[in-house]
C-alpha cells in the first residue's frame, strides 16, 4: 500500500484544520460561541495528538471500504460526477441510523442535522474521491479522516464554549460545516473533471491494497493447490 505523494498527505493534514478554522474562527469573532482560551487550546491539542493514533486506526476500517473499494470500482464504470458525489451520499446514508436512533446528533432538530450532515459528507466525499484517485493510495484518505475527527471533535469543539446558536453553525451537524464542505466538494469535483483522475485506468492509479492482497492470496492458493 503506497503512501501517495507528500503533497496529497499535506492536503489530508491541512484541509481539516483549514475548514475547521473557517467555521469556528468567525463563530468566535462574532460571539456566536466563545473561544475558551489558550490554555484550553494547548490542552485540547495535546489530547488530540495523543488520540490521533486511535482516530487513525478506526479511520482505516472505514476508508478501506469507501475509498479502498467503492471509489476505484466506481471510477471504472461511471463518470466524474458519480465518482465525486455517490460515495459521499452513501457514506451519509450509512450514518443516518446513528443520527436518528443512537444519539449521534448534538441537540439540533433531526431534519436540520440530517441535511447539514449529508451536505458535509457529500462535499468531503468529493474531496476524498479526488484524493484517492489522484494520489493512487488510500493513505491520504485515512490521514484526512483521522485528522478530521481528531481536530474537529478533539480541538475545535472542545475550545468552543457554546452559546444558544453555536451548535447550529459548528460541529459536523451545523450549517457552517455544510457550507464549507459544499465549497470544498464543488472545488474538488471540478478538479476531478478537469484532471481526469476519475477517468484514470484503475489498474495503475486505483488498485486498492485490498484487491492486491486478494490477488496475492489467490495466487498463493493456486500455488499451494
Amino acid at each position: 500500500m503506497k503512501a501517495g505523494a507528500p503533497k496529497y498527505m499535506f492536503f489530508a493534514l491541512a484541509l481539516p484544520i483549514a475548514y475547521g478554522a473557517a467555521v469556528y474562527v468567525p463563530v468566535w469573532v462574532f460571539q456566536l460561541g466563545w473561544f475558551a482560551g489558550a490554555p484550553m487550546l494547548w490542552a485540547a491539542t495535546l489530547s488530540a495528538v495523543l488520540r490521533l493514533p486511535l482516530h487513525l486506526f478506526v479511520a482505516v476500517g472505514e476508508e478501506l471500504g469507501w475509498r479502498g473499494v467503492l471509489v476505484p470500482n466506481l471510477a471504472r464504470i461511471a463518470d466524474a460526477r458519480y465518482v465525486a458525489f455517490v460515495p459521499g451520499t452513501i457514506w451519509a446514508l450509512w450514518h443516518y441510523p446513528d443520527i436518528l436512533l443512537f444519539d449521534y446528533n448534538v441537540g439540533t432538530p433531526f431534519l436540520f442535522a440530517l441535511i447539514c450532515f449529508s451536505i458535509s459528507l457529500i462535499g468531503q466525499g468529493a474531496f476524498l474521491s479526488w484524493l484517492r484517485l489522484a494520489s493512487g493510495s488510500i493513505w491520504p484518505a485515512i490521514v484526512f479522516h483521522g485528522v478530521h475527527n481528531s481536530v474537529i471533535l478533539g480541538i475545535f469543539d472542545r475550545v468552543t464554549a457554546p452559546g444558544a446558536l453555536t451548535v447550529y453553525i459548528t460541529t459536523e451537524f451545523g450549517v457552517g460545516f455544510s457550507i464549507v464542505s459544499a465549497l470544498v466538494g464543488y472545488l474538488f469535483w471540478s478538479k476531478l473533471r478537469s484532471s481526469g483522475a476519475a477517468n484514470a485506468k484503475p489498474t495503475h492509479a486505483c488498485q486498492s491494497h485490498l484487491e492486491n492482497g486478494a490477488q496475492v492470496l489467490k495466487a498463493r492458493k493456486t500455488l499451494d493447490g
Binding site: 471500504g65 470500482n73 464504470i77 452513501i90 436512533l101 477517468n199 484503475p202 485490498l210 486478494a214
Partner: protein, 71 residues
C-alpha cells in the same frame, strides 16, 4: 473515460460494488440490532460494550465488507 460497455472488468467492478454495498448494509443492520438489544456496559469476555466500541466496530465493518467484496 470509464471502461467500455462490453469490457468484462466493468462487470467485475459492478459486482464488487454490489457485494460491498450489500455487506455494508447487512453489517450495519446487525450492529444496529446489537446496539438495541445489548445494553451498553455489558462485559463481553474482556471487552465492555460501549458506544465508542460499537462505533469502532461499525467503522471496521465497512473495511471488512470491502475486503470480502474484493476477495
Amino acid at each position: 473515460m470509464p471502461l467500455a460497455a462490453g469490457d468484462p472488468e466493468r462487470g467485475r467492478a459492478r459486482a464488487k460494488i454490489a457485494i460491498f454495498l450489500a455487506l455494508v448494509a447487512a453489517f450495519a443492520g446487525i450492529l444496529d440490532l446489537l446496539r438495541v438489544l445489548v445494553p451498553f456496559g455489558t462485559t463481553l469476555s474482556i471487552l465492555t460494550w460501549t458506544p465508542r466500541f460499537a462505533d469502532a466496530l461499525a467503522m471496521w465493518s465497512v473495511g471488512l465488507a470491502g475486503f470480502i467484496a474484493s476477495s
